[in-house]
């Protein structure tokens, strides 16, 4: 990838981080549940741009950790662990690049993120770190619903405009004819 492309990826990571911390907190319902970081990262994995996904998430995580109005919940750690697990899942379990695979991966990403958030909150309690919070299960469900919608839109958008996920079938007449 060219340097300009990496700069674009970095800028996108920072913008998504600012969106999740600064914009979503001030905007009305349902914007606070519209999270962009994980769906974009999952799409990058589906497009086989693993290193781009890691850089994007690292920059988003740093932005969230720096600008979040709550005490640091180690967003960068959560995001990197989530992407490691999702990357493994995408190459060993959901190996096809379909809409269903995208849905499964984003659902898994959101659930793992929620579990890690809860784990950090729990460990923080044990270590007497105050100010850590975790979102309620229902909030996570709302966020997951919007994740699925965003992922579907991104997937369909990529399929329509770039033909990245289309299966290459030669355009011949009677392609299923066995005779």
């Amino acid at each position: 990838m060219r340097i300009s492309s990496w700069i674009m990826v970095g800028a996108a990571g920072v913008v998504c981080g600012l969106y999740e911390t600064s914009f979503a907190g001030s905007a009305p319902w349902p914007w606070m549940f519209v999270r962009l970081i994980l769906p974009v990262a999952v799409m990058l994995l589906l497009l086989n741009r693993q290193s781009v996904a890691y850089v994007f998430l690292a920059l988003s995580g740093i932005t969230v950790d720096l600008i979040s109005a709550t005490n640091s919940d180690f967003a960068i750690l959560r995001f990197m662990l989530v992407i490691l697990i999702i990357d493994t899942l995408s190459e060993l379990v959901t190996t096809n690049r379909s809409l269903y695979a995208a849905m499964i991966l984003i659902a898994a990403a959101r659930l793992i993120n929620y579990f890690l958030l809860y784990l950090i909150y729990y460990l923080g309690g044990l270590l007497s770190i105050s100010g850590l919070t975790y979102e309620s299960f229902f909030q996570m469900i709302y966020a997951l619903a919007f994740d699925l919608i965003i992922t579907a839109l991104l997937f369909i958008g990529f399929t329509l405009f770039t033909r990245r996920f289309l299966i290459p079938i030669p355009p011949v007449i009677n392609r299923y004819d066995t005779t």
Binding site: F23, Y54, I76, L84, T88
Partner: protein
């Protein structure tokens, strides 16, 4: 065979990535805990603050645009309530104006120099908590501007909205009155003694608690800060009593509090800074 090789390659790539990511995260964690990253973190926050302010303003604008409007009946009820409150406040206002004039004349006569002892530092809100149960926001002023943990954040010349709970070099986190972790000592307007605490309950609500039964507390009473906390001056308006709850047999009274100003649409706040803490002194 090729499938097996492919799988082996994937596993090799994965363990290499996992190793790099883990090493980077451990290094980051160590640097963060030891405090070596503080200058870098502050520089990052300073760089991101202007952009965060813009996104925050956009979010607030959107929030104002889609603000829920009350129905006609609710509006009529509100108007009736406000008219009742206005009548009481007008009487108080006239009485206070005459007292203020009398006070000014007396001070002049005595040659008394009025010193409030507090300065206000204006700050922009750059981000807010996404969780509706939490009520915190980050401002673009920090320790380098003379701010400290515990200082009061106000709006409109004396309406208390929260206090600083986390401080960085160039930014700070303000916890609002409605946050579940927030506690502020209160007194009734005009009475200079502590009567209880206001505890945040999340979702923009707060309760006045630990008020002894013998204290008289009624709907529409104004609650102010008691001044018993070191960095929070007395007589900053915390809210208005909405409803007094509990039974006469309960050891303490509880009351629901209505904030005078909704902090959701704020873009700027003031932090009260004791003059002795001004950075240029």
């Amino acid at each position: 065979m090729s499938k097996k090789l492919n799988r082996k390659f994937i596993m090799h790539r994965r363990s290499k990535t996992a190793l790099i990511v883990s090493a980077a995260l451990i290094a980051l964690a160590i640097l963060h805990i030891t405090g070596l990253l503080i200058p870098v973190e502050d520089a990052g926050r300073s760089m991101l603050a202007p952009f965060a302010r813009i996104t925050n303003i956009l979010g607030t604008m959107l929030s104002r645009r889609f603000e829920k409007h009350d129905s006609l009946t609710q509006c009529e009820e509100k108007v009736t309530d406000l008219e009742h409150s206005l009548t009481g406040i007008s009487v108080d206002y006239v009485r206070l104006r005459s007292l203020e004039e009398e006070n000014a004349v007396l001070r002049k006569t005595l040659g008394y120099v009025q010193e409030k002892g507090y300065d206000a530092v204006m700050a922009h809100i750059i981000s807010r908590s996404v969780d509706p149960l939490q009520s915190t926001f980050m401002i673009d002023r920090g320790a380098s501007d003379g701010l400290e943990i515990g200082m009061a954040s106000i709006i409109e010349d004396g309406v208390y909205i929260g206090k600083i709970t986390t401080i960085h070099q160039r930014t700070a986190i303000v916890t609002l009155t409605s946050d579940p972790s927030s506690r502020v000592a209160i007194s009734l307007s005009g009475q200079h003694r502590l009567i209880g605490l206001v505890e945040g309950k999340g979702n923009g609500t707060a309760l006045a608690t630990l008020i002894p039964q013998q204290e008289s507390l009624h709907e529409n009473d104004i609650l102010v800060t008691s001044g018993t906390e070191e960095k929070i001056p007395a007589n900053l308006i915390v809210g208005m009593v909405n409803k007094v709850l509990g039974l006469p047999t309960d050891p303490f009274k509880i009351a629901t509090i209505e904030p005078l100003i909704s902090p959701n649409y704020l873009e700027e706040v003031a932090i009260l800074l004791p003059k002795a803490l001004r950075p240029n002194q």
